[in-house]
Symmetry: C2
Subunit: 364 residues, 2 copies
């Protein structure tokens, strides 16, 4: 995939940098963990620092000093998940902001205008997100509005050089997923995302719909599964044809003291690591694993020292990017399915075996 700020190798995991910062990490750190794309969020960035800042500075790349590709989510999911006090209409969403308690408006046009100011390489259309457990009529109505908003976004984009991705909806209803992909693929979007998953659906529903809906999207364009997930989630979705992922999991889990390693998840606060004068992951080449012991990381977390979360989220991002690099290698070698099976078995053995240090993957 080629963007205005360089090429991206897919499948790719994008580092979540909601507020123009990947929690606690500098752009140098991101390069060190081989992050390819940073994901910003229109909803949060329109509230703070606001459009004027991006217009004045000349966009997010200069604002956060990141010269690689940036994708911005449109804010549709945040309106759904964060704004209790919201009114949805055909025009757009009116919601009360967490920053200044004032009413703000987000429409397809306003979202594109904001993303143009942010200057992301890839913009997302504003979509209407509903709970997967809503009745079919509700899911259909939101999907149809999402389609109309996608066309309004395409018009609002005008001749911007920024790419624009559509978001397919349809909940867990196969017929609706078919309609959504069928409608959107007829229009000149630069890529397609699957939205409306991980919002009330079960794990097996999500896996089923991911496979079903990804195959309905054009194979010659990037296909992006939004907000997913654990390493097994990613491995399975790649088999379904997904090219792009984003998820807060590696950074959030890192800040909470959980590391993803080649031998399963490690909760660094556990007493067993107090005396472990070994690296977090013997198979990892990140700076955390090269320089620091589990014992020291344990001490940092027990002392509530901010260096601990920083070192763990650095490692977790490196781990995710390693997994993607290995997946790309396996795909190029024509051996992806065997690679995936081996990886899934390894993870299952480590995370559910008798010596497991893991929280249940489903509990995340």
């Amino acid at each position: 995939m080629v963007t205005a700020h360089g090429a991206v190798e897919t499948p790719v995991f994008m580092a979540v940098g909601t507020r123009a910062t990947v929690t606690g990490l500098t752009p140098d750190d991101l390069r060190e963990v081989r992050a390819q794309v940073v994901l910003g969020n229109t909803y949060h960035l329109m509230l703070r620092p606001g459009m004027e800042t991006f217009e004045r500075v000349g966009g997010i790349h200069r604002f956060m000093t990141w010269d690689g590709p940036v994708l911005t989510d449109s804010g549709g999911y945040q309106i759904f998940s964060l704004s209790a006090d919201r009114e949805m209409s055909e025009r757009g969403a009116v919601f009360r902001a967490y920053t200044d308690q004032r009413k703000h408006m987000l429409s397809p046009e306003r979202s594109i205008q904001m993303q143009a100011a942010i200057g992301s390489d890839i913009m997302m259309v504003l979509d209407e997100c509903v709970d997967s457990r809503a009745d079919e009529a509700t899911v259909r109505t939101a999907m149809e509005r999402t389609h109309r908003w996608a066309l309004r976004s395409l018009a609002a984009r005008e001749n911007s050089a920024q790419a624009l991705f559509a978001i397919a909806q349809g909940g867990v209803v196969r017929e609706l997923r078919k309609q959504s992909a069928g409608f959107l693929r007829e229009h000149p979007f630069d890529g397609f995302a699957l939205g409306g998953l991980a919002v009330g659906d079960t794990r097996s529903q999500r896996e089923d719909i991911t496979h079903f809906a990804t195959e309905l999207l054009p194979v010659e364009r990037p296909r992006y599964l939004m907000g997913v997930g654990t390493p097994p989630d990613l491995l399975l979705a790649i088999a379904a044809g997904v090219d792009m992922f984003d998820c807060v999991l590696p950074t959030h889990m890192g800040w909470q003291g959980t590391a993803f390693t080649s031998t399963g998840r490690v909760r660094i606060t556990r007493g067993a690591h107090r005396d472990a004068d070994v690296s977090l992951d013997a198979d990892c080449a990140c700076n955390t694993c090269k320089n620091h012991s589990r014992s020291y990381l344990h001490h940092l977390f027990k002392s509530s020292e901010p260096l601990g979360p920083r070192l763990l989220s650095l490692h977790n991002l490196h781990h995710y990017n390693d997994l993607m690099a290995d997946a790309r290698g396996a795909i190029e070698a024509g051996a992806y399915v065997a690679f995936m099976r081996r990886k899934l078995q390894e993870i299952d053995r480590h995370e559910h075996g008798p010596a497991s240090d893991s929280v249940d993957a489903a509990s995340v």
Copy 2:
């Protein structure tokens, strides 16, 4: 000054790494800001991770992956300032720990034993600290006990290769300061610190006693003013002959959103910086100033993003180390007093002038 982990250029500002970490920063960060010495704390480190961890790992250098010099404070000041539930006797201090709520004991011998396990390059003797406003008899009694404890520390050190510094006490009483320096300089300590300042004394008392007491200490050994201070404090103390400093100010102020710059203090959360697409300090070569704008730093603090404090404390340490490097240059050029006067005037103009962004230096 030469230590087991390399030479140190003086005057030197030591980075406070109480719990074997300088808040939020890696050893690579410390090298980047040209930190020469890290200061750990015996009181905190004996409680967590505890002596056994240091014995097993082989000391603090390996534990925190810092190969430069380390100085450890003895814990005397922390017993004074942190332990409400404490009993002092000739033997030592018994106090209740904040970590496990259990009673712990710290004596001169126990402190040396702990510092031997930590493996610091420079150990400090355990002293008895009292409020500067205490009556003269109380200050004298604590000073005399500090002297006896200093000799017990010297004996407990045995033939360790680690350096050992004494701590002169005597509050703000000139006669006691004379006695303390006179007593301690007769014994083979590797360096001498001034303790019992910045504990209830006024600014002018502190400056007066610093000058008076520093001159009483042997000029051929390092002289260390503990826990001080602002840039003007350091400049004045260097003129008095002080070689070593430590203070939480640059890191703590950084975490609270205040930067020390060549044009005075900057409170980055102020609205004026929201639109300031300029570096924090045009005269600074640190990574924060090279890579990030005030506008971005303001955004990070307003968003409570941990990258903000990290970038500001990085800058502040760089600023302090720059000041020390400039002071060393001026001393070598035989022009320290002129340099100090110019710097003090600059700071005064920036921090108390009409366009000042500063909090009152005395309010820190």
